[in-house]
Subunit: 210 residues, 2 copies
């Protein structure tokens, strides 16, 4: 699916004045803590949160269901400039103004993977990285029903500049495959994806007899 | 364990010039993408990453093992100014200069919970929020062996200004309890913790017959 023709390369990293930033910003929070003491905290924020939804982003935990093949999940691999690396993630995207989490999930999943999906569940709002930012997200679990003869993989509908490789992984191999991806050069697995797969593996091995 | 005496309150939120920020910063990345096109990306970064470890933070996925009680995990609840809310997380902390992930995990776990723990496994480095920042972390799984008569909960060793409530949750109730926490006012569950518990629940219900 990828149109990759060369390895991305960083030319320059420079300080970005807060006043010039378009997508993210820095804020200083002055607050009074639990014992009445005045304190400050520095926070990074997205400038794009849609007011209505009150949530920055959705990620799509997904299961591809096929009549005869084992259940699988689709992961996306893309170059992420903040890390100068290829990340392994579930499909995700920002929630647009006026959209619900469900609508954003179905739209973004179609764009990034080409598949139509149905929503199975929507998680509570979760804090993406609570010590550093106010970024938040919802995990939307979705299902794709594949026909017996599903033929070629559907076309993505990527925006200009998006280069996203899609990989289908049987759920039974999910955790082990992520561990393998993490060993590849210039590759890093996203924490949310790894934690979900780690939780599955933890439950399946059931060392503690839960 | 909490010394909370009043609800924290934010007095003021102001733009923080990048040049004045001490803990986080903004950078502009200029890069050449896969098809040879020059692009830019805005990124938030911590200014505290220890050079040796190359990783910002550790989180401690933990199991409290008791001779006769069911296996449980300890979660921490604390006010997080970036979200103006109480977050539910696993104990976590920044890796200090010269520390390994294992050392940081044992030290931070003792500080936040009062318990001595042993390290069971260390995950690959994971990207905390790859679209927005270069922040990364490792999930260190740890175990605490409790004696039959474990008496009072041990004392935390918190730094000045830290007010961290610890709660012990049986692993069998982990996911359901997080869903309940997410319904409380001014409370948000951290994405990594929720994803781990969600993965456990996904494997345990095993809707897809993995």
């Amino acid at each position: 699916m990828s149109t990759k023709t060369q390895e991305p390369v960083i030319a320059r990293v420079s300080d970005l004045p807060t006043s010039e930033a378009r997508w993210v910003t820095l804020k200083k929070i002055e607050y009074v803590d639990q014992v009445g003491k005045a304190r400050t905290w520095e926070v990074a924020m997205r400038k794009t949160r849609a007011a209505k939804a009150g949530v920055d982003a959705v990620a799509m935990g997904n299961v591809l269901v096929h009549p005869s093949r084992p259940p699988a999940t689709l992961i996306v691999i893309q170059y992420r400039p903040p890390l100068d690396a290829y990340t392994v993630e579930w499909p995700a995207g920002l929630v647009d103004e006026g959209e619900t989490a469900e609508e954003a999930a179905v739209r973004e999943f179609k764009e990034e993977t080409g598949y139509d999906c149905s929503v199975v569940s929507v998680s509570p709002v979760q804090a993406a990285d609570p010590g550093m930012s106010n970024a938040n997200m919802q995990l939307v679990m979705v299902e794709v029903q594949l026909p017996e003869e599903d033929g070629e993989r559907p076309q993505q509908r990527l925006e200009d500049g998006e280069h996203i490789e899609t990989v289908i992984v049987p759920l039974a191999e999910f955790y082990d495959r992520l561990v393998e991806y993490a060993k590849r050069p210039r590759t890093i697995v996203a924490a949310k994806l790894f934690h979900f797969a780690h939780g599955m593996n933890f439950a399946q091995t059931n060392k503690y007899g839960i």
